[in-house]
Symmetry: C2
Subunit: 774 residues, 2 copies
Amino acid sequence: MTEPFRDTARPIDERVTDLLGRMTLREKVGQLNQRMLGWHAWHRNGDSVVLTDELDAELERWGGLGALYGMLRADAWSGRDWATGADPARSAEVASRIQERVRAASRWGIPALFVEEAPHGHQALGSQLLPVNLAVAATWDPGLLEEAATHIGAELAARGAHLALVSGLDMLRDPRWGRSEETFGEDPLLAAQFTRAFVRGIQSHRGVGAVLKHFAGQGAGIGGRNSSGAPLGPRELAEIHLPAARAGIAAGAMGVMAAYNDIDGVPCAGDRELLTGTLRGEWGFSGLVMADMFAVDRLMRATTDAATAGAVALRAGVDLSMCDLSFAELEQAVERGLISEQDVDIACGRVLRVKFELGLMDPPQPVPAFPPPAAELSQRIAAASLVLLHDRGGLLPADPTARVAVIGPNGDDLAALLGDYVPPLPDGMRGTVADAVADFVGAPMAIERGCELTAPIQGGLERAVALAAASDLTILVLGASSGRDYHDDFQSNGAARLGGAAPHATTGEGFDVAEVELPAAQRALVDAVTKSGTPTIAVIVSGRPLGIGSVAERCGAVVYAWYPGPEGGRAIAQALFTDHGFEGRLPVSLPRSSGTLPVAYNERLETTLRYIDGDAAADYAFGAGAQHGPVRFTDIVAPAEVGASELAGLRVDAVARNDGAGSASALVQLYARVRVPGILPRRSVLVGYTRVVLAPGEKKSVTLQVDADAVAGLGLRKGEVGSIDLWLSSTGAGDPHDPTTVRLRPITTDDTERRRRVDQHTAASARPVARAGG
Amino acid sequence: MTEPFRDTARPIDERVTDLLGRMTLREKVGQLNQRMLGWHAWHRNGDSVVLTDELDAELERWGGLGALYGMLRADAWSGRDWATGADPARSAEVASRIQERVRAASRWGIPALFVEEAPHGHQALGSQLLPVNLAVAATWDPGLLEEAATHIGAELAARGAHLALVSGLDMLRDPRWGRSEETFGEDPLLAAQFTRAFVRGIQSHRGVGAVLKHFAGQGAGIGGRNSSGAPLGPRELAEIHLPAARAGIAAGAMGVMAAYNDIDGVPCAGDRELLTGTLRGEWGFSGLVMADMFAVDRLMRATTDAATAGAVALRAGVDLSMCDLSFAELEQAVERGLISEQDVDIACGRVLRVKFELGLMDPPQPVPAFPPPAAELSQRIAAASLVLLHDRGGLLPADPTARVAVIGPNGDDLAALLGDYVPPLPDGMRGTVADAVADFVGAPMAIERGCELTAPIQGGLERAVALAAASDLTILVLGASSGRDYHDDFQSNGAARLGGAAPHATTGEGFDVAEVELPAAQRALVDAVTKSGTPTIAVIVSGRPLGIGSVAERCGAVVYAWYPGPEGGRAIAQALFTDHGFEGRLPVSLPRSSGTLPVAYNERLETTLRYIDGDAAADYAFGAGAQHGPVRFTDIVAPAEVGASELAGLRVDAVARNDGAGSASALVQLYARVRVPGILPRRSVLVGYTRVVLAPGEKKSVTLQVDADAVAGLGLRKGEVGSIDLWLSSTGAGDPHDPTTVRLRPITTDDTERRRRVDQHTAASARPVARAGG
């Protein structure tokens, strides 16, 4: 008779329970570990795939394998390249060979979960790379990401991988952070919508799931220093940092990754309230929680005992660890009574459940074919992500018959367009801005680097000035780069180590900066080149919001291009030389300098927004982006009153009018300010948006709705009364103008009730104050 | 028969209850208001004191007066000066004339509380000014402050004032903040000890009480922007921001001022959990809570209704407001049922209780005589506060017979030595650094300003260089200034308004900076002057920790002098030209630049302490200060194990040895790192300190104790187990070296108990996550 766990007709719960009952403690603990780096499990011998002794040893230790990270990863850290790694044609074979060995090592034939990095395309040879998340967010079009994620999922399925590690939960609250590019910006609504889209796309393929990272608050790390702690309170956490995760869970994400950082002293990987209370209790999550690489071992900063660290993480709600030594000590933790075997069963059940849900425990299905490249999609997203900061010089569209010079450290650098977490590209791939401009204008391109990203080049300024002077138009390509080099050093978790890194990298994991202003060497280049008098368009290629300072004044037009991916050069060239429209809008405020941080548009109200040495406001606001012609809103209609539970979907109608002389494509943004007595409002909160295209002088009705994903960010609590001011903007975030006020559950005329409610405001403002002393 | 409230033989509780029972609602609400600015209550007509109609109108409105703020204040904002204000000889008359009028206006003869600013000396004509708090903290000697505060209290008593507004609770977590000078630095233990000392000194006089400001968390305001919010969690609040207040309350402070800022969205003036739960419930405070000026009106950012704002503040625990319009609407709030009259009674009872406790309700006592000046004490504190950062050039003590030049924007500026919140000095007062050096060397002093604090002076650099070249020694006096000018503009709460201010001011309330590096104009002066080759001593006069950058390398010796007060010039001259010893130690980390913030020594552990553009660590560590000769610690003995409740007083013995060639005066600092599973430790926490003087080669036993005021900062919760690493340092904060581990309540061998405790670690880490949505 077939064991119940093999019976595909039975409900998954029954199959999990049955299988768990058959397993030894060691087998179960084995399911909770993901210790091997996947590229250590196999290597190539010419064209054949050879499994390693290290794999066999790990299989023997546990009688199976829970999960394998990065089996297909190819990059400078793994050292895998086109000569040694798994290209699309070989990947499914690698996966099936390893899986066969894993199944054979398990008394129950339990396969491993194959876990792969896919923050903006799968980090594997021959994958379709896409613009980084921050660029995608600048499109304000989650549909584009869903399309892209669907493609990523198809690639993963075709290679035999199961779980995609997907960034998106981190909020960009401090642009000094090197991982800024992995975020969807500073706004919880955008982050929530794009996270939903990412999950939907990835999980549209049978057998592929998304693991959302990082949970939670990592973007609030002090000093913008990677994985530093976030001494946040519960309101800040809930309103800013949790909505994206909540939305991703609601969209069905199979996994969540516990982050490195602590929140107010409690490391996420040991935070039971977060991983169990909020995630499972409040949100009903039933998938698996994976800890970030070595995050459980980092709990040993508070205890020198590995078993205790593992026990704390398991009890907090970590199901699957990555690389940690301490999680491998869970048997000892059971023996010592720090946890019970039942605790292990709960976690193991979740890991097994995901394997059942992904179909791994069912008879193998044929592997789908590798999808055709999606370069057109990648370019379409890049094009939609370009934000025009200004074209005061009226330089756009540029004349393709002019003598064009491409100058600057990012002008002819393909790696600089890609971002972090990328595989090596095929040899001979073209696509730099200079390549693309040359292709577009159909002439060889005059190119001069001028300076490195952070250092002058001997004679570079002089050559750049001479070239600009001899040209009709200068395209200055500036910014930053997450380029990694195969000669770099890496930390144990794969973050590049400073000092060993390629000298030009200024962003990406491990590349935090003290000063977010454009580096002095580039500012000097801008000053020198623009003095030539040649009209200059600046293109900022950067995964971090930079303080661009005088670039704005000195250049006739400025385009913020993020890391637009391998098709980004072509997208930029096309945008500059055609009537592009520039639909991208800033998903994050651009600061003046590090000294003015934080500058997020949705901080709470402040009374002082000036320093004696300058303005504290962002140089460019969240939601901003040049458009043709001013758009005005009139006849704004919203309900006078709603219950707080009816906020999602609340409708606002208005008339948009284009007062300008040109046609306008406006991103109409609906902002809110919540007024609940006793709680300080945020300056504004994005609650919805839509697009409208208007001919000169044209009027059109627009309808906006408060998005369900925006409600958490408003921070309302049950029973709270007050009001919400709503207003429209097509130029980005700021203070309210002509707001419409919607009352939330009015205060009744009953005095007792009134009194109760005032009490409630103050009581509802209760914040537990830690009890100190013993 | 005498009414019970007049009967001095009865307990105060009875007297308060009796009086309350006789008062109308309006009279009671009147006791809760402090609307008038005190200098509007009277003016001088030649030598006679004239009471104003404004005072009479206010008295008539309420049938009395709760409190009067700043009756004796003299400064640029009040406009009162030596011609129009109250000098010591006149102050008691002003007070008694007003009090007489107040009593007469009250059916019950209730006098007003006279509330005065006294952050570092009474802000009134002829008071003894002292170094600012940040300087006082650098002495690491709370006894000095107690002596100083005793003097301040004597002055207040002699002038007929009752409540001194005393800074000290704000923690210096962001040096961009203009009010940095008002803090006792970044460490909760120092802040707690100095706050205790301040309270003890002030309240050593009958009839004078201290109101501690600001409660709470104002030093954590985002961006270092004045009164901005602090999105903190409960652990960060309790461990860093509350210990000073807790200590001040334990020392008997009569009042606490609710701060402007919000904590995680809840404005302090509307925070019932803070003002009632923690302050009264947990700490047993029975004094009065005063709101900062217009802080209650600022609650109207969340409600447009003044009565609701007043009601929220009253219910939260504000007893007495300052200047607010909304707190004057409490009668309406009662009528509308937002609060009950009983709520008003509670607050009014607290105000009255303070009046009884201060003896205001008893027959008047003779006013004590104005104490003699305490200039010697002021100079002694200034001298003890000077921190020698280095004397690599061996320039100290300097030769008084050398040709000395005093150069720099603060070299001949007395106002720059004083700090914010000061009255005008008497005409003709000498005391600049240049004055004092001239007096010391007995020769006229060669002086050159060189530059303004933030701007060059035409020809200044050249003149400075020429002067330095012609001298044997240059004393470069650099830094910042809180100098105010009678031509300045002020905001409604008295903070100077940017733009209207004296152009040289760079610190003080309202003077936040984006960049904490020494301004470029001063850096240029340092570069130019030191190129002359003349030996140079830099003296940094600043109420803010500055990034001094190349000053450290270019100058042979560097002294950080804070705002040392009117005797500071003499203290500096004496220190430079005698064998001073320099006992001051940094009470705050000196950052490299704003881009590296935060840099406090007691942040939680981080993995990344570097930026790609430089180190993230402080340039100079908390606790640092040059000393003669290295001191080593051996034979460290501490108990192997204690209960968490026995931590206060825990004793650590060691042997200190002076390995250097000169004698050493060491400030021995005891640091701790707490290890509780599931909680990320802070890098280090100061728990005690002592001084030891050692001859060359000498060994001495030293004994340190964990100070009771340090325990709250360790963040231990009831029943927590773990361990504490302890180590000694005489050079300032840093990572542990040779730590001694003290176990806290060991894990028992009972498995159930062990299990329960692991649960507890994760459960104890519970942080309420705000419930969003409705």
